[in-house]
């Protein structure tokens, strides 16, 4: 049975091994013996087996149809907000689960049916196809070069240099219009990155309670976030401003503050640092109250809040900017000006 099935062109003698030297010298133990003869599958010789395969394929296609019906049924019948408990997945959306699984079965069964069909019922006789060199034959190449040369000559491209040069000039300039059009994508940087919403006399507003902070509210070991007075979540530029103005407030015992300037800029041991990491601008606030270290959750830059916000680990390049604060005559904390240096990530013009 099997030997009759081998197509003639695949018999060993017609195969041509590469690499010249080791080719079929009679008796070369490593010579290419050519394609091995085709061996029949069970389905090729046993019609019962082939029938079984056919039934499996048809069953898979039928299952797919049923799954599609199931998909439509779930779409129509399962409410979008229904939650079910499926062990071990958890409390999940019934609709997502049923739609997903029926769709998966519908698709997978089509694929599995087709592949099973191909593997068991379609011919698995391996066929060899000749390859041809990708590079053109020399005469083709000669013809192309000759044609090109003729074309170039007819265009007089090489001879009339004025045309050539002005054309290059025009083609080189025209994309500039496109570049120009990009100008209005945004404003020029100016000093935007240097300024924040903080200014002298603005009170520190607690972001949890939206009330101005008093020094006695803040205990040693606590952590509070503040924004400048007058800023509201509803403001159209809130996002842009909070991205620079976000403030982190902690209280240290004055004797624990190692940096003299930090102590000068604090009020009763209350220090206010920018919440924006000087690395790439994540809001940094993983404050360890015993070590006074603050860690950035994005790239683990670690700053020492008891030592002028100095970088002690990680990729940040400079200390966290501190906001100079005082207690005003009404007993609230207020800023004594904007940050002395740009907050957030460093940039070329920062200096």
């Amino acid at each position: 049975m099997s030997s009759q099935d081998i197509p003639e062109e695949n018999l060993p003698s017609t195969q041509d091994a590469h690499g010249g030297a080791v080719t079929k010298t009679a008796g070369d133990p490593f010579a290419d013996p050519g394609l091995p003869p085709h061996e029949a599958r069970i389905q090729d010789i046993d019609e019962q087996a082939a029938k079984r395969s056919e039934r499996v394929v048809a069953f898979l296609f039928l299952l797919s149809m049923l799954a599609t019906v199931g998909f439509i049924a779930s779409y129509v019948s399962v409410p979008v907000d229904k939650s079910i408990y499926v062990f071990p997945i958890g409390h999940i959306s019934a609709l997502n689960f049923s739609l997903g699984l029926t769709l998966a079965v519908a698709l997978f069964c089509i694929g599995a049916g087709a592949v099973h069909w191909a593997r068991t019922l379609m011919s698995d006789v391996e066929v060899a196809d000749e390859r041809h060199a990708i590079a053109a034959e020399p005469d083709v190449k000669a013809k192309v070069l000759a044609d090109f040369k003729q074309g170039a000559e007819e265009s007089a491209f090489g001879r009339r240099k004025l045309i050539r040069n002005t054309m290059f000039g025009a083609l080189a300039l025209v994309p500039l219009s496109g570049v120009m059009l990009l100008r209005d994508l945004g404003p020029l940087p100016g000093t935007k990155l240097r300024k924040t919403a903080w200014s002298e006399g603005k009170m520190l507003i607690n972001q949890n309670t939206l009330q101005p902070l008093r020094p006695e509210d803040i205990q040693v070991g606590s952590l509070t976030f503040a924004m400048p007075e007058g800023m509201k979540e509803e403001d159209h530029d809130f996002q842009k401003e909070i991205a620079k103005a976000a403030l982190m407030i902690v209280r240290l015992r004055p004797e624990n503050i190692k940096d003299k300037r930090e102590l000068d800029w604090s009020a009763d041991g209350i220090v206010a640092f920018s919440k924006i990491c000087t690395h790439v601008g994540c809001p940094i606030s993983l404050y360890e109250q015993q070590t006074h270290h603050v860690l950035c959750p994005c790239h683990q830059s670690t700053f020492d809040l008891s030592d002028g916000g100095r970088v002690i680990f990680g990729p940040a390049g400079h200390a966290l900017p501190q906001l100079r604060i005082k207690v005003n005559d009404k007993g609230y904390l207020e800023a004594m000006g904007d940050f002395a240096e740009p907050v957030g990530p460093a940039f070329w013009e920062r200096g």
């Binding site: 061996e39 689960f97 993983l286 015993q290 959750p297």
Partner: protein, 269 residues
Amino acid sequence: MKKLSARRRHPLAAVVVLLFALAVTGGLYAAFAPADTAKADGTAQSLAIEEGKKLYSVGCASCHGTGGQGTSDGPSLVGVGAAAVDFQVRTGRMPLQQQGAQAPRKKAIYSQAQTDQIAAYIASLGAGPSVPTKDQYSPDGADIAKGGELFRTNCAQCHNFTGKGGALSNGKYAPDLTDVNPKHIYEAMQTGPQNMPSFPDTTMSEKNKKDIIAYLDTVNSSKSESPGGLELGGLGPVSEGLFAWIFGLGALIAVAIWVAAHTAKAKKS
């Protein structure tokens, strides 16, 4: 090198390599395991004070000093309050099993009654936050959405979006908050255990704390919903990526192997 190379096929070679690899792994672990730089804290009523003092001198005094004044092994407990004691002891953090980067959560050793006695004793040493009452920490009637926003502002930076926990420096960590008793969450916010900063009522109101507890109760408890399916730890893209590689690509490769494999041949038996 030659000599080494010649012994490559020695039957014991694999054993030697394995032992070597284990030694290196163990050595590296020992070298990189978080250094022991731990500190812990704890805190303090009237008839119970006497009983509490007894318990204290047996279980706590060795680190925190006989009068709660603190030693080099443990901080002073004067003024930490009953809430801190209840938190530390009832979550099993105290008494500490061994010094480490941070006291881990474990099974509580003291009963609630014993804990209350110790707390009463500690509270007698100096004024501090008292144990919250049920209507303070119960999530009923709180604003879940506001709690979510507060959580993202104050807590998520260490505890992750839904309180799955995260790393801090040098082996310290912010623990997973899944199914933590609301009372303990309230106490933790109020007292700031270990390296966690405190969020006293003056900067985070009682209402704020209730909202946060209600949010956590909704998104991070064993009955929380995860509409999309498996939560994959709630850790974000890292676990999603691992899942895509292992199960997604893994399943696809398994299927590809089936598609491309040669069908079994009918071997003459």
